[in-house]
Amino acid sequence: MRRLSEDMKRAAVIFISATIIFSALVYVAVTPRPKEQFFQIYVLGETRMAERYYPDDNPNIPVGRLVQWYLGTTNFMGSVQYLVIKVKLGNSTIKAPDDINYIPSPAPVLLELKKVLMDNETWEFPFAWIIGEIGEEGDMTYATVLVIKGKDGVEVQRGRVGALNGYNFRIIFELWTFDPVTEDLIFGWRAGGEQRAAWLQVWFNATKPQTS
């Protein structure tokens, strides 16, 4: 058998080494880097900033006074996501959502807002509501909250809940997503084998309209 010349041997070594190095570089370039998957949910005040959540900065909301917020969510999951924001009306005794065991609040659902979001897409929309009426039964004050459609002022949904002396009502926003594994909506989202949850709440008090 003819022995390989020194040049050929050198060329073979260089070729094999270069192929290994280039293949590794291509693999690194082609394989997508794992990134943190999460959602962002926020609520802004009437100035579209994290301030002025109540008219005149007073959390005692009189009947019939419009409260304007902006609700937003951003998808950082790296893929198309179907999400539902459940708006719930609660008081201080109703359980808040449980982030550890991923249990949503048992408060009655006022409204469900649904949207399919692209990766890195933000969905922000106005959320206006008023206290339609309040009624008293003993120490309890019952408030009927109406959610108003931003543009035409039409009522889209209503819910009624009671609180002691009209104090400590809250509107809870829960983020639900479509889980492709169970093919159902889940509270929060699943990322990297574990579930996570995101929710918000804003407290307010319901007051009677001032009589002149």
Partner: protein
């Protein structure tokens, strides 16, 4: 005094007729209610089917995206999915208001829309998978090509350097180095 004694045969016939009329009216009412319940159930099933088809379309779009489909085309499908979502909401609203006919019509329409989106997404998936596959083959195929170029470059570079070194050696002249003692 017995009741039998008081009723004339004509009265008895009239009573029987009246009872039959009431019975048939009640039966008709029940049938109508059943028909209504049946229609509501069917419409509700249509909305359920619309939701199921929407989820199928969503999964298909997600798979197309994962296969590496073009972002703009995915965005167009997502827009259509959001339209379907709005229509399903509308159908559910109408169903709650008792407008079964319209709810059913909208639900059926959304089923067709979702099926269309799913089919398009499947096509997009196939297209994107093939494209991604060829792109990967091309990219990995470039590694040996690049290695070959490097090898040829190094080989001729080495040869050139060696020849240069040999030439340099050949041009060297022997010089006598003067020792410091000799200089004195």
């Amino acid at each position: 005094m017995s009741l039998k004694g008081k009723l004339s045969p004509l009265g008895a016939v009239l009573l029987v007729l009246a009872a039959m009329l009431v019975g048939s009216a009640l039966l008709c009412g029940t049938l109508n209610a059943d028909r209504h319940a049946l229609a509501f159930g069917e419409s509700s099933q249509a909305v359920d089917r619309a939701n199921a088809e929407f989820e199928r379309a969503l999964i298909a779009v997600r798979e197309a995206e994962a296969a590496g489909a073009d972002r703009e085309r995915i965005a167009a499908l997502v827009e259509r999915l959001n339209f379907v979502l709005g229509r399903i909401d509308e159908a559910e609203h109408l169903l709650l208001q008792g407008n079964i006919t319209d709810a059913d019509a909208i639900a059926q329409q959304t089923i067709d829309d979702s099926t269309g989106i799913a089919l398009e997404a499947i096509e997009l998936y196939d297209e994107a998978s093939l494209k991604t596959y060829y792109e990967k083959i091309f990219t990995f195929g470039m590694a040996p090509v690049a290695s070959l170029l490097v090898t040829v470059g190094v080989h001729y570079g080495w040869k050139f350097w060696r020849r240069h070194e040999v030439d340099r050696m050949m041009r060297m002249k022997i010089k006598k180095v003067k020792e410091p003692e000799e200089e004195e």
